[in-house]
Structure formats: C-alpha cells, structure tokens
Amino acid sequence: MATSKTLGESLREHGVSRRGFLKFCAATATMMALPPTMAPAIAAALEKARRPSVIWLSFQECTGCIESLTRSHSPTVENLILDVVSLDYQHTLQVASGELAEEARLQAMRENHGSYLVIVDGSLPGPGSNMGYSTVAGHSNLDILLETVEGAAAVIAVGTCAAFGGLPRAHPNPTGAVAVQDIITNKPVINVSGCPPIPTVISGVLAQFLTFGKLPELDAYGRPLAFFGQSIHDRCYRRPFYDKGLFAETFDDEGAKAGWCLYRLGCKGPSTYNACATMRWNAGTSWPVESGHPCLGCSEPDFWDAGSFYQALSVPTVDSTQTLGLAAAAGVVIGGAAAALAKHGKTKAVADREPVTVEQLEQKL
C-alpha cells in the first residue's frame, strides 16, 4: 500500500546514496525527454513526493506492454520507478491470486481514494458488446474499469490497445473493443501508445507525474507531447536521404545497403509520432529503421487497418515519380505532404477494407 514516505526516503531505504539519487534524477530527466539541466529540479521534487498507489488493470491484451516494461534491462531506472510507486494490483505480477488479489485492489482503492493512479493495458468490450469476451474474476472489463476509475486521480492507457483499441479493435472488431478514452470521460486519460510502447516512455510518464504532480501536456490523441510531439520522420537519421530523393526499393538493393530512406518500402514514419528515433529499444541499442525495417506506425490509431505494412501509402494516390522529384527539391514541405498523403491513404484503406473469411484465406493459400 502507499505509505507516507517520500520517494527520497524510499530510495535511500533501497540503499541509494545521494550521488546515486542524483544519478537516478539525471537518468530520469533523460527518460522524461527533459533537458539534463532539469536534474536538480527533479531531485528536489522527487525528494518530497509521496509514493502513489498504482492499480494496473489488464484487459484484452497480449501482456507485451508489461513485458516491455519489466523485461527491458533489469534492474533499471524503470524498475526503480516501479519500486518507488506502490504497485498494489497487477494480476500478472502480483503474488496474491483469486479473492485475495481482488481484495488488494479494493483495499488500495479505499485507502487512497481520490489519489491513486490507474494504468490500463488492453482494450475492452464496449457497452452493448458481449461482456463474456473478456472478464476478470467473473466481472466484465467494463464494470471493473468503471469501478476502479471512480476514485482515481488519473488514468494512464498503456499501449495502442488501451489507447486506441489496437489489434482487438481491428476490422471487423468481433468483440466490440473500445479504448479507455471511449469509456472514461470524467477523469484525465493519458495515452501512451505503441505496440508495445517504449519502456522508458511508460516509466517516463509515471516519473513525470510523480515529479511534477500534474499531467503532462498532451497532443490531440491524448499522448504526452514530450514523447509524441515529433514524427518519426522528422527525427529519423535517414531523413537527409529522403530530402535528396534517395530511397531503398527492396530490402537487399544497393540503396538498402547504403542506409537510404525506407519510405518506398512502406515506412509510416511521416505519419507516426513516437520517440523511437531518439530513445531507441533494447537499452538504447537500436530501433526498427536503424535495423533496416520501415516503421509500422504502431503508435497511431487503427494502424492494423491502414493497409499493407510494406506499401508506401502515397504511391497509389499520386504519381510517385513526381512526389520523389518534389521531395528532392523541398524535403521539409514534402515531409508534411507525405504525412497528409499517408493519412489520406490510411483513411481510404480503412474505408475500403472488406472482411476476409477463412474460406477466402484458404483459397489464397
């Protein structure tokens, strides 16, 4: 349960010295995408912050989000952030099971009414759907969400499923899946999208809430601007090749070997907002584009229904030669245009998409 101890006290109890605490704050600044000069301010704020109670609800999900967070590179600052919050309910991680587990959730809600945080991963069958598609302890996801959020300070929707419906909501959406923000309208909802989200972004949002005690600035999709404020395309180290009109046409051609832009191989970077290009994955080792694969756009709504991952969405709608010529001449402007084209193509792909039956799939195979 949440205690009256401050985060500073809690960290020192974990054997963290003051230099260690400063280091923690420097890494936290990095994690929050803040200037490193903010570390002393973070130290002052975290020293006094109280440990919040966190209830983590998992609905229609694959556990990839919690895997991303907990199996990243342990022990890390992310884990320390998890240590300094009081994670009172997370049915994959907690020791208690059955009624004891549910009682832990109810107890945390009673004792921290009005101040606890709710984290949700996974979408949930919306009102009017068959609630039997996803239940926990015999209760529907919808009932559990409404009951748990009632006394919460804020809700963090982790992963594209919780934020936008994700894979369960992909056409034809058999379970009637909806996102958290479709249900919760009377509490602040922060969307941390991605399939899965970058672990440091998940913990960065938590750290930001702990440090400043308020919600971060959000974009139109409810995502923290600190992490989702710039497109993959704008932060991509391959961007200069796009501006010069140098593209890989296949995965093994000379352009691919030379590290040219992956736009024509279906990269969704121009219409995708996320922090992969700077925060990277696997302890900062690399990220999809650096590994030679186009961005799938996994942090955007309906990315499953946006057509092929390997089709450049603007290609069917305009003369690509013309687009590329223009790109060479005015890359920055075209970058925006590419995003608009991609968005248009995505909307069209969603609209044109027809349900595929098992029989049809077998015929194709």
């Binding site: 280091k23 420097a26 990095t30 180290y237």
Partner: protein, 144 residues
C-alpha cells in the same frame, strides 16, 4: 556486462555514413558551451540519448573528442564512468546500471562534473560521522 554484449554482431559502417553527419552539430554546440563556460561560468549539459544519431555517429563523435587526463568511477546505483575528453572542460559522463548497461550518456562542459563533488547533505553529516569514529577510538573500541 550486458547480455546484449554477448551477442556477436558485426556492425557494417554504411558507405555514406559521413553524409549523416549528426556528430558535427554537437561539436559546434560544445564549442558554444566552452565559450559560455569561459565567459560566465555557466556549465552546459548535452544528453546524447536525445540526439537522433545515425549508426556510428556517436562512436565517431566520442572518438574525435578523445581521452584527456582524468578518469573517475563512481559506485552508486551501478557505476558511473566519468572522463575528461582531450578537449579540456569537456567531460563524458556514462551512467550505467548495476548490470553495466547504459542508462544515460551526457557530455558536460564544466570545470568538474557536479556528480563528482561531495553532496552538501553528505558534507553536513560528515562531522557527526567523524565524531562517532573519534568517540569509538577514545573508548578503546575498534573503529567501524
């Protein structure tokens, strides 16, 4: 060491790597930081993890900055490796976790990185700690 380090990976340096050139602007930023430090005493911190480096950019930058006279190692929450580069007052601060994996990498332009200095709270507690030691010695007991 990190488990990732045990995976044999051959990193191919792209032929056009020099065109990515995201290391060059950092050298200019360092130049401005040095001027600011000399003129006003104001330090500069550059978070290298916030820079969209291409493959090899970071390594090229660090190689160009070289090694200076001072190296230090802090044991707190995993190791922190601090070394002055060949450019005086430009320090590389490499934050590692307990498993030796990097959690942050900063360039600091300062006379000495703040993390190396004794923290004010520790200084305030130091006399009392020494008093306890002296008391133990006066009592004939073994110092802890």
């Amino acid at each position: 060491m990190s488990a990732l380090d045990s995976i044999a990976i051959a990193v191919e340096v792209p032929r056009l790597a020099q065109e990515w050139g995201n290391a060059l602007p950092i050298l200019h930023e360092i130049r401005h930081g040095l001027e600011r430090l000399a003129a006003t005493g104001e330090p500069t911190l550059i978070d290298l993890r916030a820079i969209p480096f291409g493959p090899g950019d970071e390594a090229r930058l660090l190689e160009r900055l070289g090694r200076g006279e001072v190296e230090a190692r802090i044991h707190a929450l995993g190791e922190t490796l601090i070394r002055e580069t060949a450019i005086p007052a430009v320090w590389l601060v490499d934050f590692l976790n307990a498993e030796g994996e990097r959690i942050a990498l900063h360039l600091q332009i300062d006379r000495i990185p703040g993390l190396l200095m004794t923290q004010p709270e520790d200084l305030a507690e130091a006399p009392a700690r020494l008093d306890r030691l002296l008391k133990e010695l006066a009592g004939g007991g073994e110092a802890a």
